[in-house]
Subunit: 229 residues, 2 copies
């Protein structure tokens, strides 16, 4: 298997939250993939064969799958003898809704919080592209985002409340053991951890203990991620 | 079975969103309960036997269960021969998280939107209690809430986005057929429909078609709810 991912200057430090969903899903299934690190500027040409303009793209023999959710569904279906990612059809439908929730209420404000930090860890050849495309998305300049990160960070933290509450009664989002819902949320934190020094969770939040449980999974796969500016 | 519920002036028009979750869960299981309508002021004394200070409370033979989530779990476990509400353990854990999401992102802003309307449909004996307890919760007077309903309504509508998106690809939140996740969201709308004239969904929203599908379930159980001011 080959997994195409996005990196900044440091080729060993992929930080795309959607690629992280796939990395964790592969680890959950006990599968290994060779990582192919790409800069933004390399993605379009390299991934032309896949029909996708974004990472992750997974090559598994003759199968080429893009989009982290489609990859998770592919792995669940084609490696059904391995531990389940979703826990059944009803849970799978719920995860689609959860992914939309996370996108709207967490990824969006977090992106605004760390957009300038991501810009800084990118390879120079990517910086113009990132600036042009992302300034449009966040509605302000990278410099303004760097200045005003506290507003979206406050929104992000406020939107963590349901997850924190849930983790008061459960070890993992998925219950007694981690599964894909945990990977969807955890990848959000790894995104920030690999690209920013900002502290995005309060010390007394139940998410802190959950993060340390997540960090220990799969031989410390996510726990090894750190900011290298 | 007996189901204790909250009503305003109109005893046939219970509007508590949590009681609605239970009514729909009972209908999903094909079970019937005698409704016991209560005003706010009657709840404490009448429900003393249950140990709960809030509705819903369900009496099922010798069993007395309170809290809509505990009731749903009770029904799922004790009427496991009937159609499943959750669709398995993994989905059940996800529903706990969804309930927290709905509470924070929908029920809270919607309450602020319709607080003054709810006040108006209550029996006179409940109005003082409601005003005192709820003004504290929303941080402003009933009159101020009546004036400034557009701000929380905008927040509510914005937070509907993940559900609308999800319903572009699914007939129901739970997939091809309705289940407890649908009842959690639908009860939110029935709450507003029974107590307020405000329009809380835009005409072109995929939620409109979903609402009409939900209205047709169980012989039009929720579809019959209308505002009687």
């Amino acid at each position: 298997m080959k997994l195409f991912e996005l990196v900044g200057c440091d080729k060993d430090n992929g930080f795309s939250p959607f690629v992280w969903r796939t990395k964790l899903a592969l680890a959950h299934k006990g599968l290994e993939a060779e990582l192919v690190p790409l800069h933004f500027s390399e993605i379009r040409n390299t991934l032309e064969f896949s029909g996708s303009k974004t990472v992750p793209v997974l090559e598994d023999g003759d199968n080429v799958i893009s989009d982290s959710w489609d990859i998770a569904c592919y792995l669940e279906e084609n490696y059904s003898d391995k531990p389940s990612l979703f826990g059944g059809d009803a849970a799978k439908v719920g995860l689609n809704l959860l992914s939309l929730q996370i996108g709207k209420s967490l990824l969006m404000p977090l992106f605004k919080t760390i957009a300038a930090d991501i810009h800084d860890v990118l390879h120079d050849m990517d910086k113009d592209y990132f600036r042009k495309s992302r300034e449009q998305r966040i509605g302000c300049s990278i410099e303004e985002a760097a200045e005003d990160f506290k507003t979206p960070l406050k929104l992000f933290k406020g939107n963590l409340w349901p997850y924190s509450q849930h983790l008061k009664s459960e070890d993992f989002l998925a219950g007694a053991a981690p599964a894909y819902s945990d990977y969807m949320l955890y990848s959000t934190f790894l995104w920030a951890r690999g690209s920013s020094m900002k502290k995005i969770v309060d010390d007394n939040d139940p998410l802190v203990d959950w993060l340390s449980r997540m960090d220990q999974l799969f031989g410390g796969l996510g726990g090894q991620v750190k900011y290298i500016g």
